[in-house]
Each structure stands twice: as structure tokens, then as C-alpha cells.
Symmetry: C2
């Protein structure tokens, strides 16, 4: 190994308006650089306790088992499935986007039999179809839905599904990776048994942790397992002996990421959860108005659109990559492209957490207008920003 | 949720001399606070490439599949087992400490049959016993050893084991969580097929990533699997399509942790790997001399002691916790206690990465002397620091 070191780290500043990560508050950046502690240091275990208290408030739950899993949102998903499913169990899973598909893959890797309830990418899962699936099986162990489908921009209603899960005695698992901290999520009031999220969306913390919560009903299922959880790293009974019921060493917690999450949760507390959700609503609606005023078509089903992530169809004749590269190179804005069947067909524009600002609503509309006009897309100058400004004033 | 936010983060500065995390260089702290990017941003994908290049140099390997797994060292361990073992496979695993035991647990959760090769905690695994275990089975899929047993302070020789793995056509897996960056590790020269580490030990980066490498022979086994890897999050074929063979989205990489690792690897490059290993050797030996000069007994087998983590027996009549709390409260030093059968019997003193300094060698000896003398332990004032200084001068 030579003593010449490769170039120093010097990342450009980006306006992060994709499907996550979102921009983070400078206080969160600073928190990561706080003095490093051991994972059993008394000061750190206090930070753990306070983080758990704040996470409970965010999830709106009293669940004792509430803590961040040491991996990204996808590790949270895997923990949600591998702890509660055993080979031969039946899981009913809503599939209307990439993350529903990923849930199916996870459940199958646990040896479970999956009954998918599908819908077009961008539309919600119909509660009647969920009931049909539940009815078709002798005993369903788990019903799983994605609250906010990051790949399509659709917001799944949960009330009826929760009622059905109870009626058919299935555990109710909900993925809130993209909704938590931006849309209303109420784990206890909504009867959610297992819920996980990610830090890098509406919580505005860097990626690396998956907030997780499970209620006593779910834990009873865990205790009744006939075999060990197939993942040692994500085994909730081992994890909770470090996070919830004692301080038994399991793995070395990602200390700096927990610092960052703690600071991000403090910022959420200071803003107030209701005010924060209201901010996401206001900015999201303004973006929707602005895009429609530009003659663009929103992709997700009307009445079920996310405020934190907007999907918009790419107009015919417009080159997906060219526009996204223009945004990146000329405006330093990141947005997301489509995934799976929506690749090349939609853009995904995030307004999450610290990125959900009036300034960003106006910026992205202005930038898109400039770039689309350059490509010959017929557009009335200022149409988008004018409509968005009006919507912002009205709210 | 009320608008009053809990107390600001204000961790004390600790001298981290436990089994990890070690202290990190201020440059690594700063790196985490660099502007956040998306996980597909062209600047970030360049950082990924450069990180992989530096990791290859550290592992001393040409393996294309070399990258950090998005979890702590334990996630690296799980990835090492769940990708290569299928139900019914036979694994021979060296067990002479907590991490050997954890390997057994991991392998069993993959449905593998484990043939343990045991040794007392603190002693190395005997190559003859390894051969006996390999010989006793019709076909062994994998031989796994912990290079540096963090729970005992023993350094496992690998040459003979590597030869045996080849002879019996088993994959050779080595855990280098505590050795990489502090002791010599040479993946290719030593014939290691699968190797993982952790960032928070001798690499001196915060916990949260597990550097991982696997050679083409291991990958051929992966490709020949008859069923999917049971973990979606740790599935190497999916991970390598993001890290190694393309930029296909798998999960959102923990961007800031990758920044930190990149900076820590740059620092290693600047120091030079050989010089770094020499530094760990020099400081480790000085600590050994100092502790022995204080009349204390080193726990790990002579000739096979780690330089980066020293285990020392707690003298009779001395209260484990009282001394460790004295170190923490009076000197702000963290050291580790014993685990499993060694609980209350040994202390574990780390000199890893940025924490491996002459100053820390002298500090811990001075502090231990003060605290032990207070407890009535017979000690000649300055015995430890004098012996250590002499050893440092001689080197």
C-alpha cells in the first residue's frame, strides 16, 4: 500500500428531492460528529432510552419494543417478516409497487406461503380484495401493507385493512418507511401490530437505521415460535435484550447513527408532529397544483396521493435521463426516476422532512419548466410556480 | 407530542480502550458531516469505487466482490454464513470464545450441521483437532475460524488451517473483525475464501459497516445454490449488483457511514499498512510488559496474544466493576469486562487504530496502578509505566 492517499472527500451540495435520502438539518450533521462512546457507556444508554421515548411518540405507540434496528429500512422490513413468519405460515401481502414485491420476496425467504393482493402500480389495494384473500385461506398469520409506496406515490388507507386483520386473526404489519414523520401514522390507534420505517425519508436523518415497533400481540407470536429466527442479526428477542429489557450486549450499536436519529427526533419534537404533517401536506399539495398547471399528469390515484413523494408522468417525447441530468448538473437537484414497470414513465419528486420547504416547491417547478421548455415541451412561462404560490397562500 | 425537546446531545470525551469502538480521528468525524448525497449520485458512486479500492488494499485481495455491508461486524458474520451455507451443509467451526459460539449459532440458523472444534477460552484452536473434524465428515462445506477472538485476546494462526481447508475442499471463512488494520491480514496470500470485518476496531471508524470480501471460488458456491439466500438484506448477489457489477438499487446505502469509512481508509493509506501494524505491535507489547511488571497475569495463551486487545486476569479480591467504574469516572477511560465464562475474571484492554498510542499505554497503566493500589493491591509505584516506557524505547 503506497503512502499517497486518494482524493479528499468533497461532495457537492445537493437539493435532495428524490425518494430519499432527504436533506438533513445541520444539527443532525453535527450530532454525528459528537464524541464517540462505547455501546455500553452509561451516557450512551441514556441516549438510547431517550431515543426510544421519542420514537414511541413518533410512532404514536406505547409499545415497549420500540427501537431503531441497525440497518436501513430494508433491514426493518426483513426484521418484520423473519421474526413473525415460520415455514408454512400464510401471509397476505398487498402488492402495488416495488416495496410490496420486496415484502413478498422477504416472506418467501422465510418459507412462508404468500397470497398476494395486487393492484396497478399507482393505485391502492382494494379492501374487498384483501378480505377475499383472507377468506380464501384457513388461517392467515400476517397481513402486510405498504403505507406509502415509494415506487408509485400512492398512500394506502389502513382502517378497513386493520379491521379485517383483527376479524381474521392475522397480525397486521405496516411499512411506514416513507410516511413516518410526514404523513399521519398512529400505530396504537390504528391497530398496527408490527411497524417499521427508515431514517432517511421524512425523519431527515442519514440512512442507516430502521425505526421498529411491535406490540405485545406480535411478541406473543414471537415467543410461541417453534424454531429460532433465521437471522441472528435481526432476532428481536436478542435485540430487545439490549434495547428494551436490559443492556445485554448483542452487537455494537451504530453509535453515531443513533446520535443523528436522536437529534432528528428532537427537531421533530420542537416542530411538533402535527405542524410537521401539516407542512408536508401544504407543500405537497402546492407541488401537485404546480405540476398540473404545467400540463403534467400526476401518476398516483387521485385522492390517494402522497404529500411527501409526488409521482408525475413524463410527457411523450421527453427524455427521462436528459431532464434528470439537467436537474442534477444545472440545478444540483436530485429527483428519482421510475422503477420496474414505471421506469422511464414517471419522475418521483420528494418533499420529505427538511427537504419539504416552499423554496424547494418553487425551485423544482422553476427548474422543470426551464428544462422542459428547452426540450420543446409547450409550457406557459411561470405557470407552475404561479399555481404553487397561489396554493401555498391559500393554505 | 409536546414542543419541549429533550436535552441536547452532549457526550463526554472518552478514551476508548475497550474491545471497540476505538477512538476515531477528527477527520473521520468531519467526513460524516460532509454534504449528504443520494445513493445513486455520480459523486457518491465514485466514493463507493474508491472505498472498494482502499478496502481491497486493506484486505490484501484482488477480489472483485469487496465492499462494506450495511450493518455492523455481526451483519458481516451473518452474510458470511447465510450466503454460503444451505440446510444440510456441514460446517467445521473453531470455538474458543464468544465469537466462535456466535458463528455456530449463525450456521445453525442457516440449517447447517455444525462440527465444533473447541478450545479453552484464551487458547488457540489446534490444527490437528481441525484436521480430525474435517476428516470425520464425508464432505465439509466450510471451515470457519475467528482470527482475533475479541472475547479472549487470542490470535489464531491460519496457515495450517488454510492448507487443510484446501485439502478437504472446504471454503475457508475467517472473521477479522478485530484484527483487520491492526494485525497482518492477507486474504489472497493466506488462501481465505470469505472474510469480513468491522469498522469500529482497528480501522477506527464508527460502528455501522462490515467490510466484506469473497473470492471467485466462494462466489461459484453462491451461484450453485439450490435455494435463495434466506436473508434478502444480506444476499450477496443482490448486494454485488449495487456495489460490484452495476449500480442497481438494492437498499439505500448508509451514505455518511461510507464517507467515514472512506476517510478512515485514507488515513490508513497515509500511515501505511505496515507502519500501522508495527505501531500496534509496539504499543501492544509495551502494554503486556507494563501489566506483567505490575504483577498481573495476561490471560491469552503465550505466543498467541493479540497486540490490539490485551486480556489480563483480575487479581483475587479485586472488584471488577469498581475498577472499571473508577477508570470511567476518574479517568474517562473505557475498557471491557469479561464475557461468558470470563465474566468477572478478566479485563479487556484495547489498543486499536487511533486509540493505539504510547500515551494511552502509559495512561491505562498509570490509572490501573492508582485504582488497584487504592484497593490494597500490592504494587510498586510506577512499575507498569516504567516497564512499558522501556519496552517502547527498545522497539
Amino acid at each position: 500500500m503506497s503512502n499517497s492517499s486518494p482524493r479528499p472527500l468533497n461532495p457537492p451540495y445537493r437539493v435532495l428531492m428524490g425518494p430519499g435520502p432527504s436533506n438533513i438539518h445541520p444539527r443532525v450533521q453535527q450530532a454525528m460528529a459528537a464524541p464517540l462512546l462505547g455501546h455500553l457507556d452509561p451516557y450512551f444508554t441514556n441516549v438510547m432510552d431517550d431515543t426510544v421515548t421519542l420514537l414511541r411518540a413518533l410512532f404514536r405507540t406505547e409499545n415497549r419494543l420500540t427501537f431503531p434496528i441497525s440497518g436501513t429500512g430494508s433491514a426493518g422490513m426483513e426484521a418484520g417478516f423473519c421474526n413473525f413468519l415460520e415455514p408454512g405460515d400464510i401471509a397476505v401481502i398487498g402488492v402495488n409497487g416495488l416495496f410490496g414485491e420486496r415484502m413478498v420476496d422477504n416472506a418467501q425467504r422465510c418459507g412462508a406461503e404468500v397470497v398476494p393482493v395486487t393492484s396497478e402500480w399507482g393505485r391502492i389495494i382494494d379492501p374487498e380484495a384483501i378480505e377475499e384473500a383472507l377468506k380464501s385461506q384457513k388461517r392467515v398469520k400476517l397481513l402486510a401493507l405498504v403505507h406509502a409506496e415509494t415506487s408509485t406515490g400512492a398512500l394506502q388507507p389502513l382502517a378497513e385493512a386493520s379491521r379485517l386483520a383483527k376479524q381474521y386473526e392475522a397480525l397486521f404489519l405496516v411499512d411506514t418507511v416513507t410516511s413516518l414523520g410526514g404523513h399521519e401514522v398512529a400505530v396504537d390507534d390504528w391497530g398496527i401490530d408490527i411497524c417499521y420505517s427508515g431514517t432517511q425519508k421524512c425523519i431527515s436523518c442519514p440512512p442507516g437505521l430502521a425505526p421498529f415497533t411491535a406490540n405485545p400481540k406480535a411478541l406473543a407470536t414471537l415467543e410461541a415460535r417453534t424454531r429460532k429466527v433465521q437471522s441472528w442479526y435481526l432476532d428481536l428477542s436478542l435485540l430487545s435484550s439490549y434495547w428494551a429489557t436490559g443492556r445485554f450486549y448483542h452487537h455494537t450499536a451504530p453509535i453515531c447513527m443513533v446520535y443523528a436519529l436522536y437529534e432528528a427526533l428532537r427537531i421533530i419534537t420542537e416542530e411538533g408532529l402535527e405542524a410537521r404533517i401539516e407542512r408536508h401536506l401544504r407543500n405537497g399539495l402546492a407541488l401537485h397544483h404546480g405540476l398540473e398547471a404545467m400540463g403534467l399528469t400526476l401518476h398516483a390515484q387521485e385522492g390517494h396521493r402522497l404529500n411527501v413523494l409526488t409521482t408525475v408522468r413524463i410527457p411523450p417525447g421527453i427524455d427521462d435521463l436528459k431532464i434528470r441530468q439537467g436537474l442534477l448538473n444545472e440545478f444540483s437537484i436530485e429527483i428519482g426516476g421510475g422503477l420496474g414497470p414505471l421506469k422511464g414513465k414517471i419522475w418521483r419528486i420528494g418533499l420529505m422532512g427538511h427537504s419539504s420547504t416552499e423554496a424547494n416547491v418553487l425551485l423544482i417547478l422553476y427548474a422543470l419548466e426551464k428544462l422542459l421548455a428547452k426540450e420543446g415541451y409547450p409550457i406557459e412561462p411561470g405557470a407552475g410556480t404561479t399555481a404553487a404560490s397561489k396554493a401555498l397562500e391559500e393554505k
